[in-house]
């Protein structure tokens, strides 16, 4: 192994930050990022599935026959998605309702399957955990960034986390007179925002 643990972890945060560099797993990126909170929630749920499926795939990598590996990966991932679904129903029910269909859709998120195939199947458990965490946090950050951009201009708010009793975040960032740019929180805004963010990433990367 040429790469160290830290390198495996940090590559997911910038070098291989999944939605921007690889343009994978775009459905949740576009679908749930109307607020920062949704983005973070979705990102954490995906990170959970990613880390645990990586652990299981890495520990079973010598047992799973190469020919049926994709089917095995999908079953492993689906199991953890069901676990996530049940956990979220129990502890963060309002968020679960907001994310809706996108939680079961983690099963078909290309990032999770991609990491199982490209990384966890070939590396040991510790490295796979680092990889899963890195990619997962990178994914969470990109969702939160896109969510922040859209919520800031589209609704004039920034909501980091909501509990039944209080809201963490800033309301009316630009003051009460700011007319929210509703386009941003609607469907077309998601595509345009992501496209422009990708453009900024390309600009920064090409230096």
């Amino acid at each position: 192994m040429a790469k160290t643990l830290t390198q495996e972890f940090t590559k997911g945060l910038w070098e291989e930050i999944a939605p921007f560099r690889l343009v994978l797993g775009l459905c949740p990126v576009l679908g749930v990022t109307t607020t920062v909170e949704n983005g973070i929630g979705m990102g954490l749920a995906t990170t959970f599935v990613l880390v645990f499926s990586n652990i299981l795939v890495a520990s079973l990598r010598n047992i799973i026959p190469a020919k049926v590996r994709i089917a095995c990966f999908i079953i492993i991932i689906a199991t953890f998605v069901v676990v996530t679904e049940l956990l979220m129903q129990a502890f963060t029910y309002p968020l679960f309702l907001k994310l809706g269909v996108f939680i079961p859709l983690i099963v078909v998120n290309c990032i999770v399957l991609g990491r199982a195939e490209a990384f966890a199947y070939k590396n040991n458990i510790t490295l796979s955990i680092a990889d899963g965490l890195g990619i997962g946090i990178g994914f969470t950050l990109s969702l939160a960034a896109l969510g922040a951009l859209r919520e800031l201009f589209g609704a004039n708010n920034l909501t980091i986390w909501t509990t039944p009793t209080s809201v963490f975040g800033v309301q009316q960032v630009f003051g009460a007179n700011f007319e929210p740019f509703t386009f941003m929180v609607q469907a077309p805004g998601a595509f345009v925002c992501l496209g422009l963010m990708l453009c900024v990433m390309n600009l920064m990367g090409s230096k």
């Binding site: 459905c27 576009l30 679908g31 099963v107 990708l198 900024v200």
Partner: protein
Amino acid sequence: MGYMEIIIGGIFVNNILLAQFLGNCPFLGTSKKMETAVGMAMAVVFVLVLAGVITWLIYAFFLVPYKLVYMRTIAFILVIASLVQFVEMFLKKSIPALYAGLGIFLPLITTNCAVFGACILNVDKELNFMKTLVQSTAYAVGFGLALILFAGVRERIILARVPKPLQDTSIGLVVAGILSLTFYAFKGMI
């Protein structure tokens, strides 16, 4: 909800690609050429309708009576994965012409969120059998329509002079946004 509403809603207003954001990976991945877009669209229409109906049957006659609803994610993905395999083998044997056309796009559908998402949406909305059939067809046609329209635009973009950092996927997303905006105009229809 009448059938007409379901059809128009599924194709235009709640377009699965542009309004619900399902199936975006193939949307961006296969839309660079018209040929691949048409292939993908056909494969999705074919599988989505079949998968929608079959997962509905499994949900209504197996998962609900045995109180296994929480297992639907696993059940659905297994059904879709095996259905895709089965369809592939069936087409290879009996309709080789269609198989050659759909070719590489069939296996990709297993991890297509549009198919899986549509199945989940159908059972979430508690539609009956006929409505599921109509809804799945409408979603599938909407997917095909959006994909083919988008591919048409993207083929033209190649000829345009796009600034370097905006090239490829980046401009593709912006175009998708504008396309999605045009689909917004259908909102008033329902």
